[in-house]
Amino acid sequence: MYVEDDPDIRAIAEIALQDVGGFTARLCESGAQALAVAPAFGPELVLLDVMMPGMDGPETLQALRELPDMGHVPVIFMTARLQRSEIDEYRALGAVGVIPKPFDPMTLAEQIAEILARARMEP
């Protein structure tokens, strides 16, 4: 599941995840929509844009964790402002990783795979 307010980025992310990466992807335009869609879709991974109007990325994550079965789904933040303090902050919120924007549509899936592999290595 990829939550992102910019429709162009959503379109390219859909290709990056589905066509290139081979995932089954569901794109959401806002945190609120993500919360509504998540229980039925049952995502195995959630990608969250940090800066969104309304509910931002971190807020969406917190609300998501309250939903049934969503307590341990890995979450990755997508952000254009990559500072160390920020990464630490997101980690503390329970994200498994952060992918800097702009991302490369041809290697996004690989980046995700690496983050998940690393997360599995760490206890």
Binding site: I9, I12, G21, I87, K101, P105, T107
Partner: protein, 562 residues
């Protein structure tokens, strides 16, 4: 079908990029309006926040749509506005009041607009993203970055400017400032290497590893320099994890070459191209996805009738062939492939089920390269395909590339001129061909010996690779002659580009013993489109080169039609 799908991906991406370009243009127009307001001193606080958000969006998205320069420029502007915008956003009140903004801001916005406009001139058209990788994968097009970790009191600063002259993108950073180091490591994308003093190696390795733990994906090679060339010192450095050691006084061309090869070896690139011949479309699709997700380009053919045309269009490194494809035998198809001389050395690997041992034997006796047993696990498939692609590429590199420079050999670069002419005719874009020649090269060999002549030739090859785009093709045409094909590049732009490369080259000092010498180059350029065949275009570039030689060398001449 999966082959359909991968070209679909390319087409979809191209369409989205096109759409994004339109949107970026609109966004920039809005920014320009705001920039005008700042020039008149009328920009409101609300407007400034709008600008900030607009820039943030561009910074985060342009790279994804193939416009990294635009993204970087927008990021720089965004940073300039950051503190002001955040203060205003928190202040809340007085949003319609006008605010003072630095004058650079308006100029920065104008620069953004130019970036979007320039794109259509020199850069490749956004509509052909897939074709780019299918010609030759080379290091060029990707400028190699060198991160110089200084410690305040050594000669590394001078070295950085020296490396910059070789076409590297040099970034100096003080290794005693971990924050700055981390920032530089995070900002540097593409092929890169780290350079440091040997006494600093332990600290530098620690910094690099820490950056990696913080989410950076790449493990950049570290090269150290120092005075102590003893075995003990080198062993110590190797143990710490250095990739290379260069004793002072430095052999600069050698160092440049090592940086280039180390950085490129490690940068992510396409890892290979695989054609899957399989009539079970679901299975084929599955293999295709597995390979693609590992970064390997894959395409499938399910109808043997399409096999030959797909081979020439896709030009795979290896073929995975099912032993039986409907009514056709894979073994016979493999033989048919070899009817064409260009596919004589193409590795063909059979996918075979364990229950048909007779087929296997027959295939082996007919010269099959290898078998993969079905069912193949995903992991095994990726690993075995990757290693075979790698070997196949190494082999074709050896056959197609000049051993001294790693550039394309004479006959191949000549073919590229013909191919580019055909593409120009088809799409109507302008392209240039450049003939380059080192000035007074015989004197270099006579005065300093062939070893130095070779260094000069290799150095020029590396400079060209660093300065040209990945879609440009570079070949060694003769002894000291080089041939460059610049697609989507009118002669005027080509002349400017080659002129500046020539100037950089002339600045390089080659040290021989106690003295140093410099070398200049001459170039002749012709517009490929002006000619009916490639040989004539080459002839014209050669004539222009000859003219430049007569007019005193060291410069560029463009061929003019009589």
């Amino acid at each position: 079908m999966a082959s359909q799908e991968s070209s679909d991906v390319a087409a979809k991406l191209a369409a989205l990029r096109q759409k994004f370009l339109v949107r970026a243009n609109e966004d920039i127009q809005i920014l320009r309006d705001y920039a005008e307001q700042t020039r008149r001193g009328e920009l409101s606080a609300e407007g400034l926040i709008q600008c900030y958000q607009q820039l943030h969006r561009l910074a985060g998205s342009a790279g994804t749509f193939g416009l990294p320069e635009l993204g970087v420029a927008a990021r720089t502007l965004e940073k300039k506005l950051k503190s002001q915008a955040e203060d205003l956003a928190e202040g809340g009140a007085g949003r319609s009041q006008s605010v003072d903004v630095d004058t650079d801001f308006a100029e920065g916005v104008d620069a953004l607009a130019r970036l979007v406009e320039v794109r259509s001139e020199y850069q490749d058209p956004v509509s052909t993203p897939v074709q780019r990788s299918d010609v030759f994968e080379g290091s060029h097009g990707m400028q190699v970055s060198v991160i110089v970790m200084e410690n305040g009191d050594d000669g590394l600063t001078a070295l950085a400017s020296e490396m910059a002259r070789y076409g590297f993108n040099c970034r100096n950073v003080d290794r005693r400032e971990p924050e700055a180091v981390h920032q530089v490591l995070a900002d540097t994308s593409g092929a890169a290497a780290i350079l440091c003093q040997d006494s600093d190696l332990a600290d530098v390795m620690a910094l690099r590893n820490r950056a990696q733990a913080k989410g950076l994906r790449r493990r950049l090679p570290v090269i150290c320099i120092g005075r102590d060339g003893s075995f003990e010192n080198k062993y110590h450095l190797a143990k710490l994890g250095a990739f290379a050691f260069f004793p002072e006084p430095l052999d600069i061309p050698e160092l440049a070459e090592r940086i280039e090869s180390l950085a490129i070896e490690r940068s992510a690139g396409v890892q290979g191209r695989v054609l899957i011949v399989e009539d079970d479309t679901e299975l084929a699709e599955h293999y295709c996805l597995v390979l693609q997700s590992a970064g390997i380009e894959a395409r499938t053919v399910s109808a043997p009738l399409d096999l030959m045309s797909t081979l020439s269009a896709f030009q795979p490194d290896i073929v995975l062939m099912d032993v039986q494809i409907g009514g056709y035998s894979g073994v016979t198809l493999a033989r048919l492939i070899r009817f064409e001389p260009r596919w004589l050395s193409l590795p063909i690997i059979y996918l075979s089920s364990e229950d048909d041992p007779d087929n296997q034997l027959e295939a082996l006796s007919k010269g099959a390269d290898e078998f993969l047993m079905k069912p193949v696990s995903d992991d095994y498939l990726v690993r075995s395909v990757r290693i075979r692609c790698y070997r196949a590429r190494q082999l074709s590199e050896l056959m197609n590339r000049d051993s001294l420079t790693g550039l394309l050999k004479h006959s191949l670069i000549k073919q590229e001129v013909e191919k580019e002419l055909a593409r120009c005719r088809r799409d109507g874009h302008p392209s240039s061909v450049v003939m380059l020649d080192l000035d007074h090269f015989k004197q270099i060999n006579d005065t300093w010996g062939h070893r130095y002549g070779d260094i000069v030739i290799r150095t020029l090859a590396n400079l060209l690779r660093n300065r040209l785009r990945e879609t440009d093709m570079i070949g060694r045409y003769g002894g000291e002659e080089f041939l460059v094909v610049l697609p989507h590049c009118p002669v005027s732009a080509a002349a400017e580009l080659i002129q500046s490369i020539g100037e950089s080259f002339a600045e390089l000092a080659f040290s021989a013993g106690d003295t140093a010498f410099q070398v200049t180059l001459s170039a002749g350029i012709a517009a490929i489109n002006d000619f009916t065949n490639g040989d004539d275009a080459l002839e014209a570039a050669d004539q222009a080169l000859y003219q430049q030689k007569r007019n005193g060398r060291n410069g560029v001449t463009v061929y003019t039609l009589q």
